[in-house]
Symmetry: C2
Subunit: 205 residues, 2 copies
């Protein structure tokens, strides 16, 4: 692309460094900003700068937070004996929106992925093991995605906490509620038969 | 969406005000920035602020420019007697990339669109008429998109400059080079037959 202005080119280049945004989309976004009042761009830039400079991660669960401990960890009504291990903050938001979970979280900040150069030392695994070592945790729920990286991470953590006397569980995999069996993939359907639950239990939800 | 942090929520809201970016995409972009070094966010914010505060529009053609007159208007090799009327800077970039046009441009900044509340007074039409009135322009090429709004804008401008002794033309509409006739839409195919050109002319390109 041939730009008539270096400033425009620079802005387009910076915006197109965001994931999933190409040069054309970046140009469209940037020209949109130019048509809007100046304040809108100021608000956007300020919000991004504040985000990057002022945001904290909860010292207990590593969830994103404005305070030293996040609202979930600060909430005395939540059961601190159960800890759900998740990949990132989006998983916390997804589980919270179900209103079905009353324990705490532990956000790893990713999965072990040698291809992307992410090893155990890049994740919040040590602090999780320390938490278990203190003896306050009774159950650990693994809620990582069931991919190769997710399974590797689960197994790595499991090996580290095996020696402690705590319950470990993983979220149930199976056919989505409302889905037709005939359209389900074989792996999921197979798992849902092997891991079947007592009928009386299914009526509780 | 339930955010664990007001700062995060604010950033997501600001990013999702951009066209075509929803809350989920905004969250993905914002979390991406959080994983990157601080400098990246600083560069992005700075580029956007500089864009909105320092960018100029060329005083002659209203193209986006870093200087008072843009590179195209400043170029003495270009034919200032021919002016191509376009909607926005993306059209200038598209025509420039063909290397087929050696005249100047006039960027209107949009099309007349009563639905979006854009009238002739919101566009650079007055300055175009003034330019024609000065008598330096010999040909005006209308290169707006052939939509209702584009045609309205073309007609509005045409009515204002009718009285001047200049040539007016519009870019050719027809079947794209390389396209199969059977897949072309009727309107385009119809126009391309009505506006057929001498065979010898088609060999020049």
């Amino acid at each position: 692309m041939d730009f008539s202005s270096k400033i425009l080119e620079n802005a387009v280049n910076e915006v197109s460094r965001l994931p999933g945004i190409g040069k054309r989309t970046a140009l469209r976004l940037v020209l949109h900003l130019l048509k809007q009042p100046k304040e809108n761009t100021n608000y956007l830039a300020e919000a991004l700068l504040q985000l990057r400079n002022d945001i904290k991660s909860c010292q207990n669960c590593h969830n994103i937070s404005d305070t030293v401990f996040c609202d979930i960890c600060n909430n005395s009504k939540r059961n601190s004996e159960i800890v759900c291990v998740v990949e990132d903050i989006r998983d916390v938001m997804a589980i919270e929106s179900t209103s079905q979970y009353k324990g705490l979280y532990h956000v790893l900040g990713g999965k072990i992925s040698p291809i992307e150069g992410i090893g155990p030392q890049n994740l919040q695994i040590e602090s999780l093991v320390e938490k278990v070592d203190k003896g306050t945790v009774k159950e650990l729920i693994f809620a990582l995605s069931s991919t190769m990286e997710g399974d590797t991470t689960n197994f790595y953590i499991y090996k580290q906490i095996e020696k402690y006397d705590i319950t470990t569980s993983t979220i149930a995999r199976g056919i989505s509620v409302g889905d037709e069996l005939e359209y389900a993939d074989e792996v999921t359907l197979g798992r849902s038969i092997v891991n079947r639950i007592p009928f009386a239990d299914s009526m509780r939800n």
